[in-house]
């Protein structure tokens, strides 16, 4: 599963990698670039389909929280 996100807080990159580990997924590639105030990241994950689905949902939730204000 590939996942493209724009992060306001670059630390979230590490949070997402830890989440992948929690959900028994592997982070097989990360490409991150700072652009202005945002960090654009492309992740590639491998893992069981249900775990990847949960990971994707959690990533969406984190991104939504980042911009909740």
């Amino acid at each position: 599963m590939t996942c493209d996100v724009s992060l306001r807080d670059s630390r979230t990159l590490a949070r997402i990698i830890n989440l992948a580990h929690r959900f028994t997924c592997d982070t097989v590639a990360v490409d991150a670039n700072k652009s202005g105030t945002a960090t654009r990241v492309r992740f590639a994950f491998e893992g069981p389909p249900i775990a990847l689905q949960r990971l994707r949902a959690q990533i969406d939730r984190i991104i939504a929280s980042e911009f909740a204000g």
Binding site: R54, R61, S65, A68, G69
Partner: protein, 556 residues
Amino acid sequence: MNGANALLDALVAEGVDVVFGYPGGAIMPFYDALFGHATTRHILVRHEAAAVFAAAGYARTSGRVGVCCATSGPGATNLVTGLLDAHMDSVPLVAITGQVRAELMGTDGFQEADVCAITQATTKWNVRVTDASQIAATLAEAFAIARGGRPGPVLVDITSDALKAAVEAAGPPRRFDSQPGPRPDDEAIRDAAARIRAARRPVAIIGGGVRRGEAVAPYRRFVAMLGLPHCSTINALGAGEIDDPHNLGMLGMHGHKSANRAVHGADLLIALGMRFDDRVTGKPDKFARDAAIIHADIDATEFNKIITADVTLHGSLETTLTALMAELERERVPRFDDWAAEARTLGGPLPSDRVADHVLSATDVLDRFFARVQPDAVVTTDVGQHQMWAAQRARPNHPRSYTTSGGLGSMGFGLPAAVGAAFANPGRAVYAIVGDGGFQMSLTELATLRRYNVPVKIVLIDNQNLGMVRQWQELFYSERYSATNLSDNPDFGAIARAYGIASYTLDDPAVADTTIARFIDAPGPALLHCACHPTENVWPMIPAGQTIDELMEAKA
């Protein structure tokens, strides 16, 4: 003014009247600003873990954001369990921690901890502030995030030099207006209404999401409109009218039989603000296997996480229920009274272990206690057998009247949460129901009760065991009672008296009613020490990972 004054002004701007905390080096500038402050009161607890649990008790029972503070290093790390507890149960908190001077960060300075890294997975958001001019705006954002959407805890870590630095008096802080929440899709609402009309045995389940917003009233209208049997998870006890005959009680491992059996036999589940926790579902692939699922939640992450839903309704519960009722009223509104009446018959009385007549039974004590407790009282519990016995027997009529550590199950929660609840609910009776294990994790808060004369009353169910673990050892570990015996407990009454707290001892069932009445009527804080039978178990029980078919009502 300095950064600490700016921090305090930001808290005042958020309407914060109470901060629970414990001072230390890096947070001292904030304590200096708090000294003698006119409107924001600091409550000194006796351990940082109690500060965050007290803030949670305040938030859970009021709906407002709870606030706690601690110093750097160990002060901050002592908050971690409480933050995760709040994260699991979606409780809005703001935790403020002092941090070492910016120049010392990363040098293993005295009392330095990378609390932002440590709490990354235990908070909804965290942030470090090193610039005093950013304190006010960051606090406003922290509060917005804590209370917005699905609520949760936010940690703001501020370096001591930022707290001490001079800063221009802030103007009105930036306001983070609540973003309009998602509104459930119209087609999904129509689909849900059609499924409700077609159902023969529908059951509604409400979860902790009901605490958010004003969902209680629309929920009660919804189930009344349909004559719908309904039940709740432990985090939503009180959401349904307690005297509504269609209210089947609590669902889950130690839930009421009628609730579990009705859900098991349902052909439609309407799940509202709940997340299908494993203590509710047991074995997910066997859970309500004949039922279609309508799942409504503010957090889309919960959809299809454990149980696959047939219809998902993404939005606040009040918006969702209002829209669903409007859709149902467009045509004939179905009624399910006959099914509700049948569902009520699926239960029967709560089973309990028989104990000798002269020995105190915990379930009997709690039956008698809840028969006498004031209807508007606030009840907190700790974690373990007493938590389940209380949840089975309590009769709260609002979900903010009964609070417990549901998701994380943090022992030590009950007493400090009651402290916070008392500050959030002045004039209301507040009870903490605790076990002898959990009480010993936080009994230092007796000092907080005494200092502020907080009228919290503690019901201590002392069975000289870590009872829930002991019960599992009895049932599932061949009676090998490893590290659960607490027969060398201290004299709890003497401890209470040493802290200046009135103490009542109950060890004779013959005087239970009179002793409980004296305890309830006592002015100020008090302890009721109940010396209970050591091996009474919690029934019914659906063993972990199993189904209603394996429901136990006594030891085999």
